[in-house]
Assembly symmetry: C2
Homo-oligomer: 350 residues x 2
């Protein structure tokens, strides 16, 4: 990439779409999942901080930094459930990678699309370790912006090819089904949650209300199911009835963060949970019996974004969908910042 | 500005130089100082967090967020003293403003140049309250990237027009003098710190070593002087002998941060200091006697960056030096992120 010191490669929304489509979305999800697994295996190398959140009545703005000692990454992300009323996204995001040895940013990228991809890839990685063997049927409760990504990630990584869709807004289910036409799914649109979970070995909940809701009641969860709980991801926002949690094996990304933001905010602060990296690294067991209910209490952690940023950066070398952004002051003489201003003035006057 | 939801105005390094030169650097400093004063007056409205720092052997990468409840801002900034060896800047920065009600970014800008300007504007604001009345002579110890900005800010806000420059590298002093030619200063280049402080009512220290150094010894500081201590700004990096601190009235930005990063890391954690916002808001006294030694222990705080971001954003309406960055995914239908990818694919294939 560029050797110009002022330049940071920038992946716009348009470039990200071109990049994803050039690589192919299923391959992108598989390769991104491999990056996440690799980073989770070296979990202890990372500088881990809970996200820095700024809450308001309307939503939250968060910064999620992490570093592996060589590369530093952070994501800016908002969550504003009412945004859709005026045509905005509930969640938007962008991210930055930087070189730890110089502090210079080496990548700026949109992360709204990328976060959708990494969230789905992360869920499917969890599914590899927690879903019943040979699972092919997934219920998707909530058919908004994240639903198709979840479906494709579980297809690409686990071979899930039967979908049972439910949304309080039937139009959302219809759109999801339409968007997924041609990807080889057998899709059923359901009119109740009860209907959707029939025969599903995997239940993905991915609704968007900023409140404690009971998307899934205890009686709807049968033995052996893997629950991929994606939508309950901030304080005061949960999707599952507490009784489900009490009879599930619970797996989380980073315990201190999930206790605050995940489904387990409903439980005692010492309720036992397993961090997924320990399962991936072979230190703890994932699913232990066929009858066990397993729950991935997904909230999204900075290392996943780091993996996604790393993956995008690596791909830009062969699929160069990026622009060069003049982001960093680079005076000819490093200490002469003011002289650079003077020379720009002279150049403008000329 | 733009009504396109995907677009964030971006001020590149080149645009920032054009903006500063179009406004005029002294006017820019005066107006920016007024923004900082206004924000310091409403200090209690701000969400204040110490910066989130990621330290490594080579330096530090920091995120500095703040919000006034309506607008959210953060700065990314690094500090890598050895960077100059391979032609990089010690400090680079960029920043973002966002709308709290939607979480959408509304400005992305370079902040290397902008930080130099806000640091100088902040020092001159402190000088307004802490320097002896009618001060015209300033010693500047350390003639690197920040020196000219400090000189011009003190000229524009306080009328300082005599400079006494000292740097261990005489070439730096010569360059500073050359850069400031035509700005109406009477400049003396000095060969020792002792020489530089002769007759100076204001002493600005702005050296760059990442270590505890004694740039200024106690015997060099006479009665009535205002010390503008800018260079001591991170753990283990100080410039002033401890004895100077013990006989100075000490003024800081945000006490919890300055205790860790400022000159006062050399003092007991309960040593009395005054926060500058209290002086600006009229709650506490600044300089109390002619003979008092006053010290502004500058480390740089997020609210100053917030003021700078706000100021730049306000100027873009009349001096539109910015580009439109395609940073935010904006599907026609907010919940249909995946459909946007599909349509991009169709458009590429066509």
């Amino acid at each position: 990439m560029s050797l110009k010191l002022n330049v940071v490669p920038f992946v716009s929304v348009d470039s990200m779409m071109k990049l994803v489509n050039a690589i192919g979305i299923e391959r992108f999800l598989v390769e991104l999942a491999a990056c996440i697994e690799a980073d989770f295996r070296r979990w202890e190398n990372f500088d881990k901080t809970p996200r820095v959140a700024s809450h308001s009545a309307e939503g939250v703005i968060e910064l999620m930094p992490t570093s592996d000692g060589e590369v530093y990454g952070f994501k800016y992300v908002n969550g504003h459930p009412k945004n859709t009323r005026d045509g905005r996204q509930t969640v938007t995001a962008f991210g930055v990678l930087a070189d730890v040895s110089t502090g210079y940013p080496v990548l700026l990228t949109e992360m709204t699309i990328l976060t959708a991809l990494r969230t789905a890839a992360m869920s499917a990685v969890a599914g590899k370790y927690l879903a019943p063997k040979g699972a092919r049927t997934m219920a998707v409760i909530g058919n908004g912006a994240q639903s198709e990504f979840q479906a494709l990630a579980f297809k690409a990584l686990l071979g899930v090819d039967r979908l049972r869709l439910y949304d309080i807004d039937r139009a959302a289910s219809l759109r999801c089904a339409r968007n997924l036409a041609g990807y080889g799914f057998d899709v059923t649109i359901c009119s109740t949650v009860e209907d959707a979970v029939q025969g599903a070995e995997i239940v993905t909940t991915v609704t968007a209300d900023k409140q404690n809701a009971t998307i899934l009641t205890d009686n709807l969860v049968g033995a052996g199911v893997f629950i991929n709980g994606v939508g309950g991801d901030c304080p005061g926002k949960t999707e599952l009835h507490r009784d489900i949690l009490l009879r599930s094996g619970i797996f989380v990304e980073y315990t201190p963060q999930t206790r605050i933001e995940g489904e387990i905010q409903q439980l005692a602060p010492d309720h036992p949970v397993t961090e997924l990296w320990e399962v991936i690294a072979g230190r703890k067991e994932g699913r232990t019996t066929e009858a066990q209910i397993t729950l991935f209490d997904s909230v999204g952690f900075a290392i996943e974004d780091f993996s996604a940023l790393r993956y995008v950066r690596s791909q830009l070398q062969t699929v160069p969908h990026y622009e060069e952004l003049d982001l960093l002051a680079d005076p000819d003489e490093p200490r002469d910042l003011f002289g650079m201003l003077l020379r720009a003035q002279a150049a403008q006057a000329a």
